[in-house]
């Protein structure tokens, strides 16, 4: 990224050429990522693309087989206490000891975090309508997710890491989670990293995104920049074609005869200029959702 070098001092996370295999299965390949402080970073990818493996490296749960991972400039495997005390984490499995009661898990978790805010924890518990005497195993899926969210938020972490936070949850609980992300970054300087396959959520919340596919980062930039660099044009040519002419930056083209739709990556003005050179009229131009961009990038790579 153009700004990654100058941002590196302000980066919360700095990953360089990280590779990881499990047996002969390659999970991450030469992943480099720099995540600046402040804002929301969305990690996008399909099932098994490597999102969770990447997040587990950030949390120091996997050591780097090759390459390096730094969180707040520190190696999370060598110094877990310094790193994890500043992170609020919600895993995809949302695993908490299910024999504990809500109040017990709150007290237990508090002992790990010097910055735990008892008053705030109580506020969250009331807001999420959690009964302190309930055992975790008797909670609904949504209520259990709220417990995990509470535990991740109550020490007001500098960095909130959420792995597929809303997968399998109903819209009401999803709303709580997304609202918690909004509140977290509304407080100056805090950073959220969340992975999701729900691109609608990512599009709403992320400042920056990385797309991961087959263990590789295939796209990584500001969301605005990404959205501005993909275009879909329908062109009408003077003469019919069996195969439409190629335009620089074309990812895909479909159509027949006079009218062809191009899916391109590049500067809009240049694409328009290229169409003019081919004496084609632009009959339609449409914007692309993150979904469209993701699908085209994944099918191409």
């Amino acid at each position: 990224m153009s700004d990654s070098t100058q941002m590196s001092s302000a980066s919360v996370i700095e990953i360089q050429r990280l590779s990881r295999s499990f047996g002969d299965k390659r999970a991450l390949h030469e992943v480099s990522l720099s995540i600046p402080r402040g804002g929301v970073f969305g990690l996008i990818g399909g099932n098994g693309a490597g999102k969770t493996t990447l997040i587990k490296h950030i949390m120091g749960m996997h050591y780097a087989q090759s390459g390096s991972v730094r969180v707040f400039g520190i190696d999370p495997v060598a110094h877990p206490v310094e790193v994890l005390g500043r992170i609020g984490y919600m895993s995809e499995e949302r695993d908490v000891p299910n024999w504990m009661r809500v109040k017990e898990i709150m007290n237990y978790t508090q002992t790990f975090y010097p910055a735990w805010d008892t008053k705030y924890a109580e506020e969250l518990r009331e807001m999420f309508d959690l009964d302190p005497k309930q055992r975790i195993r008797n909670l609904s899926r949504g209520q259990a997710a709220r417990v995990c969210l509470l535990l991740a938020l109550a020490h007001r972490p500098e960095l909130l890491v959420l792995d597929e936070p809303s997968s399998g949850l109903d819209p009401v609980v999803r709303r709580d989670i997304l609202a918690a992300i909004v509140r977290t970054i509304a407080d100056e300087g805090r950073t959220v990293i969340f992975s999701s396959h729900l691109l609608d959520e990512v599009e709403r919340l992320a400042d920056r995104i990385a797309m991961i596919h087959d263990g590789k980062i295939i796209l990584h930039d500001r969301l605005d920049t990404i959205k501005e660099s993909f275009h879909r044009f329908t062109l009408r040519f003077e003469q019919p074609f069996n195969e439409a002419p190629l335009i620089l930056g074309t990812i895909e083209r479909q159509g027949a005869g006079h009218e062809w739709t191009y899916f391109c990556r590049g500067d809009r003005d240049q694409l328009i200029q290229a169409a003019r050179t081919l004496r084609a009229e632009i009959v339609q131009e449409s914007l692309l959702s993150l979904d469209d961009i993701f699908v085209s990038n994944v099918t191409r790579s």
Partner: protein
Amino acid sequence: MQIHIHAQDGVPIYLQVVQQIKYLVASGRLQAGEELPSIRVLAEQLLVNPNTIARAYRELEAAGVVEKRRTAGTFIADSGSPLARKERLKLLNDRVDQLLVEATQMGFELDDVLKLIQQRGLVLRQPKREE
């Protein structure tokens, strides 16, 4: 203030907020002097990044639709501004275009439509009488 975000239709979210607030102002559902929710409140309500709302408010301010007051609130600007008129005209243009397309499809000429508009105008100005 009712704003609906559709993250999937490709239109950038800040632009959806800008367009819908402009629409609410042009259609009179937001009045001059009305206060808009704070960035944080609207972000939480719509579940979008606060930076996106901030960008939308900046664009609306640059376009003269809203104004920031010293007390940190954002308010709808005086609707007499030329921009508000421009937005209202744009709304009306869309309706006129629709009308003309339908008229053409039904085989009417532009002159027929003009005559009809004048006639209807007269009818509407005599409110008490049956058509």
